[in-house]
């Protein structure tokens, strides 16, 4: 029955796309939300069903029909369910359902209401295909499908020039990664002869793939992941993607689509483990991204952009987990991150809603008493992401850092720890600037200041609840080997590399360090933005260059523009001017001109005088007779 999970939102998207014009708005909301909820219900049932399946018979596969058959190239339209897919379907449909509900309130007055829900349903469908596809080809279909929906939803308000451009940017940057990704798939087909995950696993276990080949394929696939999951060097599209509606940022650009890369790397974990080098690259790219994006988040004033950089940074952590071989820890962070980051985005959307669309934190402050539900839920999200103990983010981040340390990757571990300080700092900077301190509101916005309707706040509360408790399915190993239910659940899918164990005191020490680091970051933010609000200005005055560098996001966009975009545009213009206009257009125009000229010459014979025609006729007869007679 699990194969219905993607099909229900897909069918709903189809109905909305075709008949949406005639359906009443209320019906559209109900159908869109309920279809995702039905999927969630089936996911839940399938999850519990999966617990009873013996590990030997995993994954459960349902082949709907044979899709492509061309010589030795075969691909079925088949869906699979195993622990990894199951977790992803739960996250996608669960968080997705809450965001659908939230959207009913958030988008209530938008004129593209039905279009919005069509896209959102379509996205859910594509994402579920991505995580449930039983072969690489089907996974790639989902991979591209979510990219398309991302493009459509970033550019949802396409009348706005910046939104249309942001959509294009996201799409084009993703294309670069996808080109590498599809090359990786081709290589797998070349070597394994099939895109089926079981066949790939079999080939990898049977030693059919050399280490060099595995590295090549893994790096190509990972290049695709850097595009989709916004890692260095292809992360530039994600901050701009905040042009889309806020629930979209929460669903696509925080909780689900951008984590597709992590899912893919975990799915292919055997390949990355076999290669070794590729795993190392994943870890280092993740660590660099984690800290690089965190520093950029420090100086941004746009509330959604801070969250966007934070997302990039947190996905970096997930890749650290995958890179050091702790795929379960990476997936665990994906799982908890989905809750607290979508919570943060939705709460930020609620703040925006309250302030008539204001995004600039410099024009907020003191909102605590006006938003009695948004404030505590946002605070829960911030505490969770900062890594304060007993909330979900703490457990997952700590699991990743502990594994990095245990594997002897001290450099990655140190970067991750620094990133953790920065995370705590910028999140609480956000909290203090938005909800505390003096009010810097626009007087016009203050008139309309109101808490959001219940349809928006209830999802916030539910997400806040999960942001607190989701961590308890993956308790640290120090509390006993069986404590980490999450990791044990994933065991059949994750092929163990070499496990390194720390002794108990070292583990406790690491936990203490991460707690200290998180509290330290929060305290610095408190000093900077509440206790003595002049401190940031003093620091900016002291290091103007550094501030400018961070404020302008290391000028990466400018560098890309100068190094890649500009030459490409200029080159295309040159080719257009010289080749298109001169050679291609010249050939076509020349053919037309030659035809015209020939016509003109031939038309001279058409005098229109009947006598001329008669004369020609006569001459013809004479010549013919002459030929016959002589």
């Amino acid at each position: 029955m699990f194969w219905l999970i993607p099909l229900i939102p897909g069918a709903s998207a189809f109905i909305l796309a075709v008949f949406g014009k005639w359906l009443p708005k209320k019906y559209v909301s109900w159908q869109a939300c309920l279809s995702v909820f039905a999927s969630f219900g089936i996911s839940l049932v399938s999850f519990f069903g999966l617990l009873k399946v013996p590990p030997g018979s995993l994954p459960v596969i349902k082949t709907l029909f044979s899709w492509i058959q061309s010589g030795s190239f075969n691909a079925d339209l088949s869906l699979q369910l195993d622990p990894l897919s199951s977790i992803m379907t739960l996250v996608v449909t669960g968080v997705g359902f809450l965001i659908h509900v939230y959207s009913v309130g958030y988008m209530a007055h938008d004129k593209g209401y039905k279009r919005y829900f069509t896209y959102l349903n379509l996205f859910t469908f594509a994402m579920l295909i991505l995580v449930m596809g039983a072969n690489l080809v089907l996974m790639f279909v989902g991979w591209e499908g979510v990219g398309l929906c991302s493009y459509l939803l970033i550019g949802f308000w396409f009348e706005k020039h910046s939104a249309a451009n942001a959509g294009k940017k996201a799409f084009i940057v993703n294309r670069i990664g996808d080109a590498a990704f599809i090359l990786g798939i081709f290589f797998i087909f070349l070597i394994v002869g099939s895109g089926d995950f079981r066949a790939i696993t079999g080939a990898l276990e049977g030693g059919a793939v050399t280490q060099g080949m595995a590295t090549l394929i893994a790096l190509l696939l990972f290049a695709g992941a850097t595009g989709k999951s916004a890692q260095i060097p292809l992360y530039v599209w994600l901050p701009d993607a905040m042009e889309g509606p806020t629930p979209v940022s929460a669903l696509i650009h925080a909780a689900t689509m951008v984590t597709a890369g992590v899912y893919m790397v975990s799915r292919m974990n055997l390949l990355f483990t076999l290669s070794g080098v590729a795993g190392q690259v994943v870890g280092i790219v993740g660590a660099l991204t984690a800290i690089f994006a965190a520093t950029m988040a420090l100086t941004q004033n746009d509330i959604k952009r801070v969250l966007a950089y934070s997302t990039i940074s947190q996905i970096g952590y997930m890749f650290i987990g995958c890179g050091v071989g702790a795929y379960a820890a990476g997936m665990f962070h994906l799982f908890t991150h989905a809750f607290f980051k979508s919570l943060l985005f939705l709460a930020a959307g609620s703040v925006m809603h309250a302030l008539s669309g204001e995004l600039d934190m410099r024009k907020m402050g003191g909102l605590r008493k006006y938003l009695p539900l948004t404030y505590p839920t946002f605070l829960v999200g911030a505490i969770a992401i900062a890594g304060v103990p007993f909330l979900s983010g703490f457990f997952s981040k700590d699991a990743i850092l502990t594994h990095a340390y245990a594997q002897g990757q001290y450099f990655i571990w140190a970067l991750g720890l620094m990133g953790a300080v920065l995370t705590a700092f910028y999140m609480f900077r956000l909290v203090f600037l938005t909800f505390f301190g003096q009010e810097r509101l626009d007087p016009h916005a203050k008139e309309h200041l109101h808490e959001s309707p219940r349809v928006m706040t209830v999802p916030l509360v539910v997400l806040a609840f999960f942001s607190i408790v989701a961590g308890y399915v993956g308790l640290p190993v120090v509390l006993g080997k069986k404590a980490n239910l999450f990791s044990r659940f994933l065991d059949p899918v994750i092929h163990p590399g070499h496990e390194a164990h720390l002794n108990i005191s070292a583990e406790w020490l690491l936990i203490l360090i991460s707690v200290a680091v998180a509290l330290c970051g929060i305290y610095i933010a408190y000093v900077f933005y509440l206790k003595s609000p002049r401190t940031p200005h003093r620091i900016v005055a002291r290091f103007p260059m550094l501030y400018k560098l961070l404020y302008n996001k290391y000028y990466v966009d400018e560098i890309y523009n100068a190094a890649i975009v500009r030459p490409l545009v200029n080159g295309s213009q040159t080719v257009y001017d010289n080749f298109d206009l001169k050679v291609i257009d010249g050939t076509i125009d020349g053919a037309a001109a030659a035809t015209g000229f020939a016509g003109k010459v031939l038309s001279l014979f058409q005098s229109g005088l009947i006598k001329d025609y008669g004369l020609v006729l006569l001459l013809g007869v004479v010549v013919f007779l002459g030929y016959l007679l002589f």
Partner: protein
């Protein structure tokens, strides 16, 4: 008995006269008459040969030709009449609609 070659001679003379008239005359009616002359020149040659060969079939065919020619003359004259209504002229040079 007049030899066949005499009929042929007359037929050729008539035919050439028809051609010359067709090319030097400018009004449509005269040109049309020239065509009729050529047609009848051909008819003459035909009937002379039929007589010489003693075949009544040739003579019968000539009757048919004359019948068809009568119909054709009616159509031709009707066209000329319509041309005149359109152009107020029956000069061939005035009808140059097909000039390229």
């Amino acid at each position: 008995m007049i030899p066949v070659s005499y009929f042929f001679g007359l037929s050729i003379v008539l035919f050439v006269l028809g051609i010359i008239a067709f090319f030097i005359k400018r009004d449509l009616i005269t040109m049309f008459m020239a065509i009729e002359v050529m047609l009848n020149a051909a008819n003459l040659a035909f009937i002379a040969l039929a007589k010489a060969a003693g075949s009544p079939a040739g003579q019968v065919i000539v009757f048919f030709i004359i019948t068809v020619a009568a119909a054709e003359a009616a159509v031709g004259l009707a066209i000329i009449l319509l041309v005149f209504r359109q152009k107020k002229s029956i000069k061939a040079e005035d009808m140059r609609l097909l000039k390229g």
